[in-house]
Symmetry: C2
Amino acid sequence: MSTSEPHDRYHHGDLRRALVEAALELLLEGGTEALGMRELARRGGVSAAAPYRHFRDKQALIQAVAAAGFALFLEAIDKAKADVPAEEQFGAMAEAYVQFALRYPRLYRLMFSSELGKFEDKELRRAADAAYESLAVAAARQDPEAPGEAAISAWAFVHGLSMLLLDEQLLGVSAANAEPLIRKLTRRQARRFGNPRSA
Amino acid sequence: MSTSEPHDRYHHGDLRRALVEAALELLLEGGTEALGMRELARRGGVSAAAPYRHFRDKQALIQAVAAAGFALFLEAIDKAKADVPAEEQFGAMAEAYVQFALRYPRLYRLMFSSELGKFEDKELRRAADAAYESLAVAAARQDPEAPGEAAISAWAFVHGLSMLLLDEQLLGVSAANAEPLIRKLTRRQARRFGNPRSA
DNA sequence: TCCCGCATGTGAGCAATGTCAACATCTGAG
DNA sequence: CTCAGATGTTGACATTGCTCACATGCGGGA
């Protein structure tokens, strides 16, 4: 919503960025269906073929959006762990993780959706790995005796919890009143998987 | 692959079922992108407009496919818990759960994908709830003191683990060699969340 | 300063898709 | 036997992703 003045000159100046921004907006408003090359071009005030100077196909555009999403995501969980003592970092991050999913459900889903081709696009892969890594580090600290397993388990837990909440699959729990539940569950997970001696 | 003889008579006989079956095949082979109304009609040996006698739109068709998916899914996890003593049921189901996701990645993803409209389609909702319920029951038994929380946690765990494996986000672990890891992690989860007195 | 190459944007056009309305055909209930 | 409703067909429309040939203009070397 920040840079959306329709351009007048022939060359846009920074179309690529403008397209990704517009795509992000479009996605947040209308879901994956609403995200189309032509509509994007329209929003950029540019012809239908122009985007193809910056993205090989629709998939490439979507990968860029997903990468941007992971950047936002990383920022969110890193901010959450910043002002918190080490032992509580995992809990804080888990909370931030789930809240991100609830705040941007369509973006979150896109980031983990089917034929993204996350294995081919290098930039996307790096963005995703960075976010994963940050969480994994905090999770591993929860159980120094088996850090690898702890990381995977914790990570799976937050991811799965997010999905369940998005599906409104938890009876009587919706995005609105999810916060207490999130807090309780992440604490529970942290406690159970925490170093036994410190419990 | 079973009922795919091209029909000859004017009325197909059981087009609806044929369409869902074809859609399932198409999905398993080619992903969501390959799943189109017209292609479906072609496979059914029927005109492009015919499917609209059975499904309001593409979304309705997809919901039906997802519902079929949940049925398959329920069958898989129920079979897993059948021949196993009660205390080991959760572990067995968790394993089956993850293996289903790995065996039918595209179907699994569709079942949990974005704009499915799981909240509107009654049949889909019932199918999904049935599967969820079955797992939740076994999970709740793991911790009689807090069955609700235990169910959600366990459930989130398997779901998240599945997604991570599908993303090949776990370094060095791919669908091929995932089995030992799955077993180890589900056992670990069961142990940690199991009744403390029986540990 | 001029000029020209290359990145960037345009326009028309193609094949394919989702969906609809008007018409055809079959089938089962009365 | 008949005829109403369910099911299938034909043809059309708007829209989409994408490509190709051409237009434009910015920036660096003469």
